[in-house]
Symmetry: C2
Subunit: 452 residues, 2 copies
């Protein structure tokens, strides 16, 4: 496919949309002189077409991993990739790779093994097309279709890169039908073994292996190795919208340490027991909820602290609670700061124990280390956003993404765009065509630079 | 029965028990010279005999109201009352009255109606013999059997009082099989209508009327009216034990105001949402739990404040809670102070709304006004405890009792004795024979004074 095909799309991304604030989306205008350019309408239309598969009445998408709907979604994207001249490879956990060859080949050697020379490996863009049970149209899907748009834009402009450009669709990122979450990228980076994941079963007893087979995505290809990996994604949080920024330059993903906390006091009747003789487990737990917030608010490095779950016993109106169980979710970009937050929590627990006459146990149940993205790629995204005239800001990904696992294998970065109200994992998840195209325009520049 | 029968019991209540601290239980010794005296062993043995009906393996009692076991318990006590020379009357809600006539009659006129002259009415002692599903041996039962012991002691000493002395067994105090709680005393004082209560059904669809009929306690007698009513009870709280006191002089029962509070924030993912952009309903609720405690701790008049029940939504480890529902139970001896506590709570809710960006609704769901017991009777109990050498203290009843309803019809007071660890409504509920006899000794003096 060459530059003549340009007639198929509209390189003037905003030509047919009159938005008062379109000064924020100048991407296409900057790319007119023979440079590849993102087609905003084409990207949006592809997103909307994919969103019809599993569409819910409330405007969301329910497309659980490895179901018939997931097959339809994968088939649609693979068709687009093939149309765009990509070869399709599917590995044994069902990850899909659409590869647009470069001047230096397709990233594999003659025997079908990934190139041993990093300089020959593809530059990849990826994410997932499975959704939450009440999911939205953009989570995951945007990353994959931004990759498709990059390849279409390269085709439109007749650009041949040195290294191949690949689009990856990772299997089962959401983890709602099969655990663990981020299964495909986790197998890719050897965080989990293939056999372990293939043997996982859903509530009906269907295994991952069986489900892959049923939808025709039980592949046998060796997965490519990448020279660089980019994952564009809606932010799934309110930071960009709050700051009025279009591009989020993601410095890394926060480390996480989760805790189970049990407060044991003495349950007693609310009427006959004077205040000074109580050992109220809910009062003690409440002080700790406030401490968790204080610790997070006062800590640097994108600190988060959340008590999301709480169970009160016996949970009766006129009985002083004798036991409260609750969770703490601490996140931070630096494990050292994370450990300091934990230390502050333990100190607070000891103080509350002494003051309220209760016992408190604090048990760590989850630990994900922080993941810093490749500084050169991050700086490149920052420079591209600036040269394209987008308001951009550095931030951290608070949630996990396939990129966190892929980062264990190659230089990796993420690009965030705003989503309405910061809402995701919800049928009302929303993003604007302009912001999505802006993220894709930055991505396109980063891919071209990395692919040479 | 006359003083000759004294040989049946042992008026020296502590004669056969060598407790190091028996200086606290001198009751019987003070009563030796012809005055009626409590028989500690007889009281204890009666309690233990009644506790065998519905005894649980863990040492408690399960004797739900208007069951076959309740019938057995009532029959046992009625037998004792008849043996002690009482006539038994049963009213239409199944309340039982054992009446020991006085010099002035039995409290009824010739047509069987309660005496219109207050001076002719019985002095009553009462409580209940139904228990919680996992109840103890003393709650309720002690009040009834202390009344039996008073009559036995009067008989032993050959004392004839001016006014009759009655023992009342109120139907369904606990309210676990049929609502409302304190049904029998509630009907007695016209807090509920008879027809409403007779029509209440349990989970099997059996009505109160049917259950009364089945156990033979569907009476038709007019209930007596009382000149005074006393209810001895285990404290069901830790105040006496904590103070090392034997007698609780109950000034009244606390008023209660209960609230349903709903905090509405915004649920959001714990990872991507920075602290400063959160509207965390659990954080807001935690501040209010602490405020409830502060308000109760700083308010006079036996203030209590309890958050016993809390539900967190969506209650997921990594989701900031968007909604929290919880209960507030405020109690106070003065409704004016209670209202000031409520006002402070509403102010705190407004402050938290503003500070945490949440909405808070506060709805009152229960209101029982405070009940002050008759000052003359209360002072009499205090004087009797002092003259008998018991360490005593004034306190308030935090829980509801039949006495609170009976107080609407005649001068009323309660006497508390300690229970181990303040624990009640539990199979491990416990009290000492000495403390129970001490409470009964004070009761006996008060009854004799009131009965003339």
């Amino acid at each position: 496919m060459d530059a003549a095909d340009n007639s198929r799309g509209n390189p003037h991304a905003h030509g047919d949309r009159n938005h008062a604030d379109n000064h924020e989306q100048p991407g296409s205008q900057h790319e007119e002189n023979g440079q590849p350019a993102v087609n905003q309408d084409r990207l949006w239309d592809s997103l909307m077409e994919l969103a019809r598969i599993g569409a819910t009445p409330k405007g969301g998408v329910r497309r659980l991993t490895l179901t018939e709907l997931d097959r339809q979604g994968r088939d649609l994207v693979c068709g687009w990739l093939k149309e765009a001249g990509c070869e399709i490879r599917v590995d044994r956990i069902g990850n899909v790779y659409g590869i647009r060859p470069g001047r230096l080949g397709n990233g594999f050697d003659a025997s079908g093994q990934p190139a041993s020379d990093p300089a020959l490996r593809p530059v990849a863009v990826g994410s997932h097309v499975d959704t939450q049970p009440s999911g939205g149209k953009f989570d995951g899907n945007y990353g994959v279709l931004a990759g498709v748009e990059v390849i279409r834009a390269l085709n439109d402009a007749g650009v041949q890169t040195e290294r191949p450009v690949a689009v990856a669709i990772w299997t089962n990122e959401e983890g709602t039908r099969f655990t663990p979450v981020m299964m495909g990228s986790g197998v890719y980076c050897a965080a989990f073994t293939l056999d372990h994941c293939l043997a996982q079963v859903d509530r009906e007893g269907i295994s991952v292996a069986q489900a892959l087979d049923e939808i025709g995505y039980a592949g046998s290809d060796a997965p490519p190795r990448f020279s660089a990996y980019f994952e564009p994604h809606i932010e799934q949080g309110p930071v960009l919208e709050d700051a009025g920024a279009t591009i989020g330059i993601v410095e890394g993903a926060l480390g996480q340490r989760w805790f189970d906390i049990v407060v044991t006091g003495q349950d007693a009747h609310a009427g006959p027991t004077p205040i000074e003789l109580r050992r109220d487990a809910l009062l003690a737990a409440s002080w700790l909820v406030i401490e968790v917030r204080r610790i997070a608010a006062e800590s640097p490095d994108y600190a988060r602290g959340t008590v999301g779950q709480m169970f009160v016993h016996p949970n009766s109106r006129n009985v002083i609670p004798g036991r409260v169980e609750f969770s703490v979710d601490f996140r931070n970009a630096r494990d050292e700061t994370l450990l300091s937050m934990v230390e502050q929590l333990r100190l607070a627990a000891s103080r509350v124990e002494a003051e309220d006459g209760v016992q408190i146990s604090v048990e760590e149940v989850v630990h994900f280390p922080p993941c810093a993205f490749e500084p050169t790629l991050v700086a490149g995204i920052e420079a591209d956003a600036a040269s394209l005239g987008y308001k951009a800001m550095r931030l951290a990904s608070g949630a996990g993404h396939d990129a966190v696992y892929v980062a264990r294998t190659c230089p990796t970065a993420m690009i965030f765009v705003p989503c309405e109200g910061g809402i995701s994992h919800n049928e009302i998840e929303n993003a604007t065509p302009e912001d999505l195209a802006a993220g894709c325009a930055v991505l396109l520049r980063s891919v071209v630079r990395a692919a040479g």
